[in-house]
Subunit: 249 residues, 5 copies
Amino acid sequence: MAEAVVTMDGWSVVHDTRTFDWASWKLTSEEVRNTAIKEFKELMKKWEAVEEEKLGSQSLYKVVGNKADFMFIFLRPTMDELEEIKREINKSKLGDYLIPDYSYVSIVEMTMHNPMNEGKDRKLSPQVEARLYPILPKWEHACFYPMARRRWEEANWFAIEKEERTRLLYEHGMTGRKYAGKVKEIITGSIGLDNWEWGVTLFAHDALEFKKIVYEMRFDEVTTKYAEFGDFIVGNYLPAEDVDAYFAL
Amino acid sequence: MAEAVVTMDGWSVVHDTRTFDWASWKLTSEEVRNTAIKEFKELMKKWEAVEEEKLGSQSLYKVVGNKADFMFIFLRPTMDELEEIKREINKSKLGDYLIPDYSYVSIVEMTMHNPMNEGKDRKLSPQVEARLYPILPKWEHACFYPMARRRWEEANWFAIEKEERTRLLYEHGMTGRKYAGKVKEIITGSIGLDNWEWGVTLFAHDALEFKKIVYEMRFDEVTTKYAEFGDFIVGNYLPAEDVDAYFAL
Amino acid sequence: MAEAVVTMDGWSVVHDTRTFDWASWKLTSEEVRNTAIKEFKELMKKWEAVEEEKLGSQSLYKVVGNKADFMFIFLRPTMDELEEIKREINKSKLGDYLIPDYSYVSIVEMTMHNPMNEGKDRKLSPQVEARLYPILPKWEHACFYPMARRRWEEANWFAIEKEERTRLLYEHGMTGRKYAGKVKEIITGSIGLDNWEWGVTLFAHDALEFKKIVYEMRFDEVTTKYAEFGDFIVGNYLPAEDVDAYFAL
Amino acid sequence: MAEAVVTMDGWSVVHDTRTFDWASWKLTSEEVRNTAIKEFKELMKKWEAVEEEKLGSQSLYKVVGNKADFMFIFLRPTMDELEEIKREINKSKLGDYLIPDYSYVSIVEMTMHNPMNEGKDRKLSPQVEARLYPILPKWEHACFYPMARRRWEEANWFAIEKEERTRLLYEHGMTGRKYAGKVKEIITGSIGLDNWEWGVTLFAHDALEFKKIVYEMRFDEVTTKYAEFGDFIVGNYLPAEDVDAYFAL
Amino acid sequence: MAEAVVTMDGWSVVHDTRTFDWASWKLTSEEVRNTAIKEFKELMKKWEAVEEEKLGSQSLYKVVGNKADFMFIFLRPTMDELEEIKREINKSKLGDYLIPDYSYVSIVEMTMHNPMNEGKDRKLSPQVEARLYPILPKWEHACFYPMARRRWEEANWFAIEKEERTRLLYEHGMTGRKYAGKVKEIITGSIGLDNWEWGVTLFAHDALEFKKIVYEMRFDEVTTKYAEFGDFIVGNYLPAEDVDAYFAL
């Protein structure tokens, strides 16, 4: 039996995708549409205030392709707040047009695999704080995908020695480092919470970097041998000031 | 041919998830909404009376993410009662807005694998009674997932010796024990009843414990080698006194 | 190349599941509802007359959980009659609320695997007649699931010798025999007709017996090594005299 | 690298399944229904004229079970005509009730595997013409399923020698021959056109023959080792003269 | 660890499929239909102007079978423009009837595998420009499918040596060359962007060529051993001048 990993855990996270019901939206009066947008922007302001107080974070993306129209990412201290936010959206006027689609529930996770961090009292470090309770970068693009590690007879991630897992992840981390400044990454754990084992959220100024980093990492031994991937979704950041234009007919 | 397991079996169980149709709910008059909520709260009271008489148990959860909005868990002595409850919900006014989604049918199950329990006349023990006919803890969070055991050529759970199965499950139980007081677990069997082989329902005061226990257990030999998992769903407990607030517009 | 099996084939069968549209049903006037129920009960009478003449058989089940609300099982001499019955239901008033869901098409099948039956002129035996053209027992519960045999390199059902297949199925039959009086079983073949290779329909007075028999059989060598299972659906028998109560609001 | 197969290719084919919206159909006035049926029968006549001129062929089937209500099979010289026919159906009045479901796109295919045909100038043979541009038999039942050949390490159809492929298919053809007069078969290729590699369309006077032939063929070495199957759909032939009765309320 | 591939990357691409809601379209007045078509044709003109300036490209296809009715292919310098085009379609009047279906997001990709191209300063070559920023050929038919490379223990594309990958792809390219003038191909990479690893878009004057090339390539060692395929979709080119006829009732 291999030694279990020790994790540090931060905020709870939901990736919440929505399809917008444009046909019904067009049937609504301009007055109702304006009221709905106004109410939604007030919701956004309320969320921004939470972020300013470092009690959570969020971003909103315009999804490319037909998988969805929106992807919300919400980070909060508790699962209760995540469910309340969902309900608040659904109760809002705009919520009538934001048809719920695929979602993913997870918790920000750091592991002790990185040997460079060992021996430090990480709980107190501001760097660790920043990684467990991250304020999402408002970069132009985001990419989300869930993944799992294989439990095959000939390649069983959870059965190999901890040292081997550390070595493989260290090498993987080296690939990631090449993209410093180009790609930011948040790893969230979803074992016991959602269908895959981890969620990976990437941010970039240029969406091509998502392709470059994930492609290059596919040649890392840990990916080659142990990784399984779920669906990928890519979105473009929607700042509050562009909300009116987004919904304008 | 390996020796078949002997089980003790308790209440029948349904995990019944629902999506709430907020858009239609908003179109309804306040009067109709109030009547619907009142009727639903009476249903809840009726169910609570069953629980007080120890003739069944249930809990209602607000689901995190878009997999559903509600998860009901009902335990009753017969499958007939489970179907009647479903119909009663569907016939109720609120039922018009509680769109049926994923469900799971199973029966509370105890096996004789645990060697510490052998040799006892378990049928008469109040502990066994409490496990076969459990009153669901009203803890803040619940997690449900179905699972199966592999029947691969090189890892076939149903073909290995009973002693090996007992050893593996004992070790697995030791991991579970570390979470005493933090996580409660109900195992239900669904072979012959639903698509996977077992259902696992976990309860916790802190949803992070779901991640911790399932993650740690993933390193147990029995999981590493023999476990396959279905979809995970996580919810926050909804007590009767919060029902009004939940549906308020 | 292994010797192909010889089968005896009886009635054509459809397992037809339906979800009931309660929300629309409630919007209908009591008069329309009464007319719809009356018409449906006349259909049931017509079907019962067919059963009395031994020209077919059927039963109706209330499904537990959200997979469906109803499961009809129809057995008839031809596929034409099965399609006509479907259309008759869909054309009926109640049919507007019986939304078609999952179905399964097969033909009652007996094979020559059981060595105890060899050498008999089975065609003439009333026992064989009763098995090929079975009148469904009106027991309290039914369970349906489709299955297939593996064609893996190391476990290929269709490539092993006939004697080995006979031995494995004989052993399997011995497990089944323990449940005489508790579980009745109808095996239907669906190769060339539907997505899996066989359908298994079980009947019991106590739904726990479905779990017990399928669980015990999972340890049979033939299941352990060669079986793949589709979705399981469990229902409670709905006799004609309970139809009014079922639909009453 | 194994030698690629050489094919002869005939008409383009679409298997187009539809679910009939009975509830909406009943809400329509008798006049509209009559007009819709009349228009549909004119479409059928137009298609029959094409068949009479040997410029295509088609048949319409009433599907058994809930996978669909109709299966159209259309064969035409070009993909353009197949798309135009779909659009013509959708534009017709009856098209409002013929909800599109599963479909399959392929091209009639003959291969040179059969050694008995080698050395002949097949292009000129009327037999080959009849197989590449087949007029569908108006037999009572049809069965459609798509299939693929395995590319497993230990069983890779596309990597074995041409002689071995020819031997396996010859043996397979011998099983088929036993059903001469009972089952007709049209093989269509869909590599590069739809999700599986081939479509198999069977015709029979007795639907039991679909089960018998596919069951027996499952023991052929080529099936045992190399075949993967998609969904099976079975239908009963609907001649033009029964169209009125089909839709009558 | 194998050496990662180096790619050159061009325009961002979305394959956007839509189902047309004919039943609602027929309920609309002729005036509204004319306005909707006029507005759509203006959109098309705007897109054509972009293509004329070589700032992007696009084509529209009538899909064969029921997978969809339309497939749009859009190529643009950024993901932002792809999302804006989707929104522009959805906001248009015709968008109310163009129900979003399956889509695929990728970026035009060239790799350095082809040894004939090595040592050249490809960035400056007009040929490379033409391949990275391709104007879609307005040929009669298009075929799209996504694919991935296996990461099996015995066949792991991302773990084999670069020379071996180059050899295999060179051989594969030789098969492709036989179809020069008959089939054009655009390879787009989707690792980190969508669910598979690459998208393949083929163009032909005769749809049979899709079957011929993909069939022949299935015998190439690289396909035989390493390829996995997603769904195939085939469409017929819809030029602007046929738009009126397409939608005419």
